[in-house]
């Protein structure tokens, strides 16, 4: 089952009850707000696990950090799991220094992130058994 992202400028896809959102190379106000909108949209449409994949992200500025803190809040309010995956060392160090990593799960790869989702009690059992890996947007 697929659910295309409404924002064509952001890559996102759905895997079972989780949504994977891909951050751009520079996480600033513009790209951060796109991620925030997409995360909120996914939460509103019932996703209970959000994976933000930072594989392309080279730099995160302060507004990007602030927006991610807002995403953390939104996920907590919706009792959804939030996983940051594939961060480079610089981004990982920054998030750790600022304490963001206290509120999210970390994964070295997307597969690991998905495995963390399956381990989460907030994800319905058998979700991944359906093998639903439909593209949400560009992917």
């Amino acid at each position: 089952m697929s659910d295309l992202s409404q924002d064509s400028s952001i890559e996102a896809r759905r895997v079972g009850d989780a949504a994977i959102i891909y951050a751009s190379d520079y996480l600033n106000k513009l790209s951060g707000e796109r991620i925030e909108r997409e995360c909120k949209r996914q939460l509103e449409s019932g996703r209970r696990a959000l994976i933000i994949n930072f594989r392309d992200t080279e730099l995160v500025n302060s507004i990007g950090v602030s927006i991610l803190v807002g995403v953390i809040d939104a996920a907590e309010q919706n009792t959804a799991q939030l996983i940051f995956s594939e961060m480079n060392n610089h981004t990982a160090e920054l998030f750790q220094m600022l304490g963001l990593t206290r509120h999210v799960s970390l994964a070295a790869s997307e597969a690991e992130a998905l495995s963390l989702v399956s381990a989460s009690p907030t994800v319905s059992e058998g979700l991944l058994e359906c093998g639903d890996q439909s593209p949400l947007s560009k992917r």
Binding site: N61, S62, I63, G70, I72, D73, E93, L94
Partner: protein, 417 residues
């Protein structure tokens, strides 16, 4: 990378980004929102708000917030003493002071904030005046605010304070400019009304030429517009037309109202009026250029045989040359005590005969074009509305006007008509 270096770099980047945001003067709300996000992100703070201080009402108004109960545009009171205390504290306060100020505010407004929701309060101060406050909740790390955090946040807050203050100042400058514009428009209106009153006074003195000054103003306006003058210049020459005969105020009433053609003595008396007009108008600061000169030179001729100074051709200001034609046109198209108004054809014959000697050819051309354009419905009926009071079947002079344009070297224009 060492954490301290990483933190330092993150702070520097935040400051650099903040400068860019503060420069966005086009959208104040967005500037504030982005700057506040930057501040929150610099230390990863989970919730907070920026509030602007209104010194007239002794209130703080939330202008940007995230994660706090009070929404933007919520007002809450602050005592003058408290505001002054915050202004004195400025942005060099300690963590303990910032914490106790936050506690004080939450205690004073339990209806606004839940316990511990705000951990620190940073005053926004510019030139020792409180501009607003930044209220900040807990850090994402869960750690307490350090002196280093406070130094970073205070530096960023100072920029936001300057941004807010600049916005205020810009707003104030804009308001002042609008107020000045209103005052200026008011003064111009008073000036125009005064000029109208003068024009009426001039014309009342001469019972045979009632309305002459106003008509000369209107004819001058039509000609100047046809010559491509700007709105301001057109308004100026209209005024000059209204005032061109102001010098008649000093001419003996019996001369002005003489039912006979002027004697040599009367002519001499009458010929004083352009210079007298100049003397009357010169001390006044007119909002338009050369109005006194247009009054002085409206009886000059292109061939140098006019008065008072016998100027020739280009020595006569263009405005005066326009007023000269407008003045002559009205004189010939209205009844005088010593003669009836001339037929329009005769007026045009007179213009053609005196173009280059008495009248400026370019001004005559513009007059003919304007007249033709009105006759053909291409322009608002200004000349015609004034003329139709005295003439029937004005349209009959169209061929004459066309021929005059040909004679004046504007065949293309004449053909177009």
């Amino acid at each position: 990378m060492e954490t301290n270096n990483q933190r330092l770099l993150h702070t520097f980047a935040a400051l650099a980004d903040l400068g860019e945001q503060i420069a966005n003067t086009a959208d104040f709300e967005e500037m504030l929102r982005s700057s506040f996000h930057l501040l929150l992100g610099s230390v990863a703070i989970r919730r907070g708000a920026v509030a602007q201080y209104d010194r007239q009402r002794d209130t703080l108004r939330i202008v940007s917030s995230r994660g706090l109960e009070p929404a933007p545009d919520t007002d809450f009171s602050i005592t003058r003493d408290h505001a002054q205390a915050l202004a004195i504290l400025g942005s060099s306060l300690t963590v303990s002071e910032a914490t106790s100020e936050a506690t004080r505010l939450m205690t004073e407004h339990p209806e606004m904030f839940t316990a511990s929701e705000i951990q620190i309060l940073l005053p926004l101060v510019v030139h020792d005046r409180l501009i607003g406050v930044v209220l900040l909740g807990e850090k994402a790390s869960g750690e307490k605010f350090s002196d280093e955090d406070l130094a970073t946040l205070s530096a960023l807050a100072r920029h936001i304070a300057v941004g807010i203050n600049s916005h205020h100042l810009l707003g104030e400058v804009k308001r002042k400019a609008e107020e000045n514009q209103r005052l200026y428009e008011g003064l111009r209106k008073i000036y125009r009304e005064t000029v109208h009153a003068f024009a009426a006074a001039i014309d009342i003195k001469d019972r045979y030429t009632q309305g002459h000054s106003v008509r000369v103003g209107k004819y001058s306006e039509v000609i100047a517009r046809e010559m491509g003058w700007s709105d301001d210049e057109v308004e100026g020459i209209t005024i000059a037309g209204y005032l061109h005969d102001i010098g008649k105020l000093i001419v003996d009433l019996s001369v002005i109202n003489s039912p006979e053609r002027f004697s040599a003595k009367d002519s001499k008396e009458m010929s004083r009026h352009p210079s007298a007009g100049y003397e009357i108008l010169s001390p006044i600061s007119h909002p338009y250029a050369d109005i006194p000169l247009m009054a002085r030179y409206h009886h000059e001729r292109m061939d140098g045989n006019g008065y008072p100074d016998g100027l020739k051709g280009d020595e006569i200001p263009t405005g005066a040359r326009i007023v000269t034609l407008a003045d002559s046109f009205d004189a010939m198209t209205t009844d005088r005590p010593y003669r009836k108004k001339l037929p329009l054809e005769d007026v045009l014959v007179d213009f053609r005969a005196n173009t280059g000697t008495q009248f400026d050819p370019q001004v005559v051309s513009a007059f003919c074009r304007a007249f033709l354009n009105e006759l053909e419905g291409k322009r608002e009926r200004r000349l015609l509305n004034l003329l139709n009071r005295n003439y029937d079947n004005v349209e009959r002079v169209s061929p004459m006007l066309t021929q005059m344009l040909v004679d004046l070297g504007e065949p293309a224009l004449a053909t177009a008509h």
